[in-house]
């Protein structure tokens, strides 16, 4: 705790506005966080999809025509890349913090992350089967 007013004048620095361009790790971080915008976008798409299905065959066909526009396909490919980035970083960072130890031993990111890929694969296959009418 500073006990007295210092007699010197320290030089105070401020973060530059574009601080996240200073290092690759910072830039990756910002890109990872921006995945949230694509999450929001995809929830909106899903809500429109549900509404069109509930409304009737014509609305559903209109939804599909809307989705087939080149611009939307590009947006969705970009969304897919960002969401993949989220998934991979999430599996690397989060499970270890949730399960810092298993059976009394400290875990590693590899140990807790690996089962996540299995769950992810199973979840994806189940969703695809339901959506495509396999079940």
């Amino acid at each position: 705790m500073p006990s007295a007013v210092p007699r010197y004048r320290p030089y105070e620095r401020r973060m530059p506005l574009l601080w996240w361009l200073q290092r690759w790790n910072y830039t990756w971080f910002i890109l990872r966080e921006l995945s949230s915008a694509f999450v929001a976008w995809w929830v909106v798409v899903t809500l429109i999809q549900i509404a069109s299905i509930l409304e009737g065959p014509q609305a559903y066909a209109a939804f599909q025509a809307w989705m087939a526009q080149p611009l939307l396909i590009i947006v969705n490919i970009v969304s897919f890349i960002f969401i993949l980035f989220h998934t991979l970083s999430w599996f690397r960072l989060v499970p270890q913090a949730m399960l810092p130890r298993i059976g009394g031993k400290r875990t590693s990111a590899v140990m807790t992350g690996a089962p996540m890929y299995v769950v992810w694969a199973v979840a994806s296959v189940v969703v695809a089967c339901f959506a495509l009418g396999v079940f």
């Binding site: 705790m1 320290p10 620095r13 601080w19 910072y26 989060v94």
Partner: protein, 247 residues
């Protein structure tokens, strides 16, 4: 191999300068010389006014942390030869106020370190042990990684969140706080959670993870902060379901 290398050293005189400048010094490129050896050569042979902190020269005292070519390093274990052909830019750690040249004011970190109570806490009235505490290797392994922190504050310099909001409790203090929670002799986890779960505690961390990358002792403060968020959240929901029941 060249026989000289240039250092660009950040200089700031609190009595005279409005802002820092860089002075260039040419030093002999000697095999196995560290950046700290070059700074000492400058101070001894070229310019006695260059000011910096150092002590042990073996990566354990934590006082010679600086920003070398844009990255936080302990200068006592950073080889000059790794930066050939130079120049090597040496700056003070980021975010802290610069007192002079390469020396920063660590008062804020010291206050935070004290706030998280990084010492063994025993509950008042807990029975005095009749002999020394015994710890098994497994119990030591629980906290060993976090105990290796040497307070060099490279992690604070690498943390943009601390740079953006100095109220954030920050990486090293969080790691050291958790280190004592994980110690089998300690009973102070609740008290520390009171500090860490506050608005100015761990919540600002957005898991950039650079703190864990720059740590010269391979401590993982980023993980410590996430573990604290989970503890705080468990306690919060417990308190919501059973108000006052947890105490």
């Amino acid at each position: 191999m060249a026989d000289k290398i240039t250092l660009e050293v950040a200089r700031y005189s609190p009595e005279q300068d409005g802002e820092p400048r860089f002075d260039r010094y040419e030093v002999p490129l000697i095999e196995n010389w560290m950046v700290l050896d070059a700074l000492n050569y400058i101070k001894d042979q070229l310019d006695g006014t260059v000011t910096f902190r150092w002590s042990c020269r073996m990566g354990i005292c934590g006082s010679c942390g600086m920003v070398v070519n844009g990255h936080e390093r302990l200068t006592c274990e950073t080889l000059l030869a790794d930066y050939l052909p130079g120049p090597i830019r040496v700056e003070p750690l980021r975010h802290f106020p610069v007192m002079r040249d390469l020396v920063v004011d660590l008062s804020d970190f010291m206050e935070k370190l004290e706030r998280v109570k990084p010492w063994i806490i025993r509950q008042p009235g807990a029975p005095e042990p009749s002999r020394e505490f015994i710890q098994t290797p497994e119990q030591l392994a629980e906290y060993k990684q976090y105990s290796l922190c040497i307070n060099c504050v490279l992690c604070y310099s690498a943390c943009p969140v601390y740079g953006l909001d100095p109220h954030f409790i920050g990486p090293a203090a969080s790691a050291l706080s958790l280190r004592y929670n994980l110690d089998s002799r300690d009973q102070g986890a609740e008290q520390r959670l009171d500090v860490m779960a506050q608005h100015d505690g761990v919540w600002d961390c957005t898991v950039i993870g650079e703190c864990s990358v720059v740590c010269p002792k391979h401590v993982d403060p980023s993980l410590a902060i996430q573990e604290y968020k989970i503890s705080a959240t468990k306690a919060w929901f417990k308190n919501l379901l059973m108000p006052g029941g947890g105490k």
